[in-house]
């Protein structure tokens, strides 16, 4: 089952990941793994209080150790700029961005308040344990339920926030309808917890220059941030992230370890590495805690008459993080009356932020729980219910979709899963001592595109290099770039080298929102087409013009040759064409012209969709739940590489299973501290939790959505998955659980 080799790689081929060998042999180096001469190790000391001020930091014990070079705190740190605008970044949200070691204030538990810098990791760690801090505490609140009493709508909203649009009169229609359900749903905060902890290695190059190996989803975002905060000129800051050990959104904004490592490097004029501990991974960005009230009503045939979908999410005291939570249900279902309200509420934590399918992974999932309850109230099969209320256009704003193959996804998923063999009554299916439940849900996410630049360089022997300052956080960006390049110029994948993860490369968007395959893919195709055009011009210099002055539309590029479409025997190699024109290389750097309006005049909605079917088995006495089978059918436009794309969906599904059954942040509100800040107590799915997952990509040609027809697959896999599982648990047990995760105690009551 190895990849086809030495044949032209095509978009759509299930090629092996091009960075796979580097990763399975341990050669891929992540942010904390680049060797540096004379490196110092920084260990972060975290605040033990949630709110108040630092009165004094006793660092004498730490400083007494011979290998300790410095203890950096707010009292001795280098100068920092006074105004908020210096600390904002490409994806920051309204408010006052967090500045570590800026002053004596403590804003959240686990806040970094000092960095011990030493010659060895062990000394830095030990010295940090010797630091004593005197605080003056103030009262705090980390309890979201309490914060909700002062929920609000901020005036200043982040630019990507799409407010929900109400239609009709949902409350009157709800009151008048014969069948209805209403419930309050809740999800806890979730921490991204990529397996690689946030880490940065700052190399002090001298002459005001630094090279930074950082765990980030956007090297150019970090470059601009470090330049603004620390007063470097941007060209003197080079940020690299060739390998990133997962992120899921935690590396979208510059994280505090890169700030601290750079601050320490500047203070000492030395190279410094800072790696957070797993515990400290619970001291920064997280998916907000969310409450959502969903009320639905239908007529007696199960047609939706009213949707009421209100939600609130948590944010910090210092920034207003908002996400699109309420829109998805309103977009997805035909219903004349719908209303939604979205608010945020402040708690004394770090600012919440984007995590895999922000807003939809929670908002659509909880909505899909209510849809299942409505289907049962109306005595309609839950899959059938979704088809009865299907909307071919965006039901919220009336715009058409560039494509929506959700109907096909429902049909193909149901067929594969065997949905027709389901008996509707709860507790009606069993396997020995286990109750069996089958549940369904659907999901929706954005298909985004952002202008990205790329560089391509072709050598006469057919070696091709393509590059952009994008990131591959496990998403397969390297492979997508190489594969699109190979396809465009008709080369085997082995002839292509993709380079990314370096701020010095052509401008790229951050790796987020599932937009990079579409955006970087289009950029690579565009510059490779540019190379192809130059090749053809070069071929014309060849004596006798074997291609007869052919134009781009008359030729194909394959096996390192340009050939006439009309007569494949008339062809010339790239090398011959280039030498005829006296070229050693052909290079093109550019970005594709593309307007998100596409060619059409009308505004359209651009979305991916999915249908998820879940089987659970529940021990009748112990209430232990196992997810034994998932079938997910995804409509996401064109799939560049079905093998790596499938893995993206699998990853989303696994995280969704975690939401359904395992993941939960437990905070002691008296302390304001996350108490389960480790992998032993913050449960994520392990091998034994994950059984069969089948992924189907539904055919969905969509030339309009993005230049390549690609919609992106990084996030759609998580949207709705937890709902399919929880709906299956209802089918198995007859119990509705409204607060995730569905732990055993909630089923035993």
């Amino acid at each position: 089952m190895t990849s086809p080799t030495r044949t032209t790689a095509r978009i759509g081929d299930p090629l092996n990941r091009v960075d796979g060998v580097a990763k399975v042999t341990g050669q891929a180096r992540y942010a904390a793994e680049h060797p540096v001469e004379g490196l110092l190790y920084g260990w972060v000391v975290s605040s033990g209080i949630t709110k108040g001020r630092i009165v004094r930091i006793h660092d004498e014990g730490a400083r007494a150790l011979p290998e300790v070079v410095e203890v950096m705190t707010h009292t001795n740190r280098p100068q920092l700029p006074p105004f908020d605008h210096s600390y904002t970044d490409a994806v920051s949200v309204p408010g006052s961005p967090f500045r570590a070691l800026y002053d004596e204030k403590a804003l959240f538990n686990g806040q970094p308040i000092a960095v011990v810098i030493a010659g060895t990791l062990e000394t830095a760690r030990y010295a940090a344990s010797l630091i004593d801090v005197e605080y003056e505490s103030e009262s705090h609140n980390t309890d979201f339920a309490v914060a909700l009493t002062s929920q609000f709508v901020p005036n200043d909203k982040r630019s990507t926030f799409e407010p929900p649009q109400s239609r009709g009169d949902a409350h009157a229609a709800y009151d008048a309808a014969p069948l209805k359900v209403a419930a309050d749903f809740h999800v806890p905060a979730y921490y991204h917890n990529p397996m690689e902890m946030h880490a940065s290695t700052v190399v002090w190059e001298g002459n005001g220059r630094i090279t930074v190996y950082d765990k980030t989803q956007g090297p150019q975002n970090v470059q601009a941030y470090l330049a603004a905060v620390f007063g470097f000129s941007p060209e003197h800051v080079r940020v690299k992230n060739p390998y990133v050990g997962g992120a899921f959104g935690s590396g979208l904004r510059p994280q505090y370890q890169v700030y601290l490592a750079t601050l320490a490097a500047k203070m000492l004029e030395r190279s410094v590495r800072v790696v957070l501990t797993r515990q400290q991974m619970f001291s920064h960005v997280h998916r907000p805690e969310t409450v959502q009230t969903v009320a639905l009503a239908t007529d007696t045939s199960g047609r939706l008459q009213a949707i009421i979908n209100d939600a609130a999410t948590s944010t910090s005291r210092f920034e207003d993080y908002m996400e699109t939570v309420c829109d998805w249900g309103l977009m997805n279902y035909a219903c004349e009356n719908a209303s939604a309200k979205y608010t945020i509420a402040r708690v004394d934590t770090y600012t919440s932020g984007d995590m895999r399918a922000p807003g939809a992974a929670t908002g659509m999932t909880l909505f899909e729980l209510a849809v299942d309850e409505m289907a049962y109230a109306a005595s309609v099969d839950p899959l059938q219910f979704r088809l009865i209320n299907y909307s071919d256009k965006n039901a919220m704003d009336g715009t058409p979709f560039t494509s929506k193959a959700l109907r096909e996804a429902c049909a193909q998923g149901a067929e594969k899963f065997g949905w027709s063999r389901r008996t509707p009554a709860p507790r009606s299916m069993r396997d020995g001592r286990e109750l069996v439940g089958w549940g369904v849900a659907t999901g929706i996410w954005d298909a985004l595109f952002e202008k990205t630049s790329a560089h391509a360089k072709l050598l006469p022997n057919g070696d091709l290099e393509v590059a952009t300052a994008a990131s591959d956080i496990g998403t397969g960006t390297y492979t997508v770039m190489a594969q699109v390049a190979a396809d465009t110029l008709g080369l085997p994948i082995e002839k292509v080298t993709a380079t990314l993860g370096d701020s010095a490369l052509p401008k790229s968007t951050v790796e987020g929102g599932s937009k990079l395959a579409a955006s970087a893919g289009a950029a690579v195709q565009h510059v490779c087409r540019g190379v192809a055009e130059k090749l053809l011009v070069a071929a014309d210099q060849l004596e006798g013009q074997p291609l007869g002055g052919a134009r781009m539309e008359d030729v194909t590029f394959a096996q390192g040759r340009i050939a006439l479409k009309s007569d494949a025997t008339r062809s010339i190699s790239f090398g011959d064409a280039m030498s005829a024109a006296g070229l050693d290389t052909i290079e093109v750097e550019d970005s594709p012209a593309w307007h998100s309006g596409g060619s059409s005049q009308t505004r359209k909605s651009r979305n991916t969709h999915n249908a998820i079917f879940a089987e659970v088995k529940v021990d009748e006495e112990l209430c232990v739940v196992r997810v034994t089978r998932i079938v997910i059918a995804v409509a996401a436009g064109r799939i560049i590489n079905p093998k790596t794309a499938r893995s993206q969906i699998l990853g989303g599904v696994v995280m969704g299973i975690g939401m359904a059954l395992h993941e939960e942040t437990a905070t002691d509100h008296r302390l304001g501290r996350v108490m389960n800040h480790n992998f032993a107590e913050y449960h994520i799915p392990a091998h034994a939790d994950i059984q069969d997952i089948e992924v189907i990509f539904v055919d969905e040609p969509d030339p309009e959505v993005t230049p390549l027809g690609v919609k992106g697959v990084g996030e759609i896999g998580i949207v709705g998955t937890a709902a399919a599982v929880v709906n299956a648990i209802y089918h198995a047990t007859g119990k509705r659980v409204h607060s995730l995760p569905v732990t055993i105690d909630k089923l035993l009551v």
């Binding site: 990763k23 399975v24 050669q27 397996m195 050990g245 499938r646």
Partner: protein, 180 residues
């Protein structure tokens, strides 16, 4: 080729402390001598002193499996092992596994090839630990079925969620080994 490395120190740091102890390890087939403090973990020794960064740190508390290496053929969490307690041991890391594969005349160890073929990785950060753990599982010889593989690999977390592909990759190698 023996090299003396003074652990617990660096080019930048102070001299080795009085508590340092001399040990030797055979790492990926090469004997290495160290003088290190008793609190240096095998994981930090591999990563920070030997620059064998293929072995990953995901928690430093024995909760994630990213640091799994083979010590005398058995899989262990190297973050929980003090290097001085392993004096004389044979340590195989992901870098050494590749060499063993090469010695057999393949480009990669069969597990490494199977992981690539099944796309049993995404970010790749848990991957060396998964592969070393799988080799340990094969050495143990207990797990046969896919369910047993899942159970026995559950100490190795993968936040990217590559579990089904990892199980498929391990099963392929297990089955091939069985029919040999």
């Amino acid at each position: 080729m023996d090299t003396r490395v003074f652990g617990g120190t660096s080019q930048a740091g102070a001299a080795q402390s009085s508590e340092a102890i001399g040990i030797s390890l055979v790492i990926n087939g090469r004997r290495r001598d160290f003088v290190i403090e008793p609190w240096v973990t095998l994981l930090d020794l591999l990563r920070e002193q030997e620059h064998l960064t293929g072995t990953k740190k995901g928690c430093d508390h024995g909760q994630c499996g990213a640091c799994t290496v083979l010590v005398d053929g058995k899989r262990i969490n190297s973050c929980l092992a003090l290097a001085v307690a392993r004096d004389g041991a044979q340590v195989t890391t992901i870098e050494g596994l590749a060499c063993e594969g090469l010695a057999e005349g393949h480009g990669l160890h069969p597990l490494q090839q199977a992981f690539v073929d099944h796309d049993a990785l995404q970010c790749g950060y848990c991957t060396p630990g998964q592969i070393c753990s799988a080799q340990g599982l094969i050495n143990e010889g207990h797990a046969r079925s896919r369910d047993e593989v899942r159970e026995s690999m559950s100490g190795n977390l993968c936040r990217c969620g590559a579990y089904t592909n990892i199980a498929a990759a391990v099963m392929e190698v297990l089955e091939k080994a069985d029919t040999r």
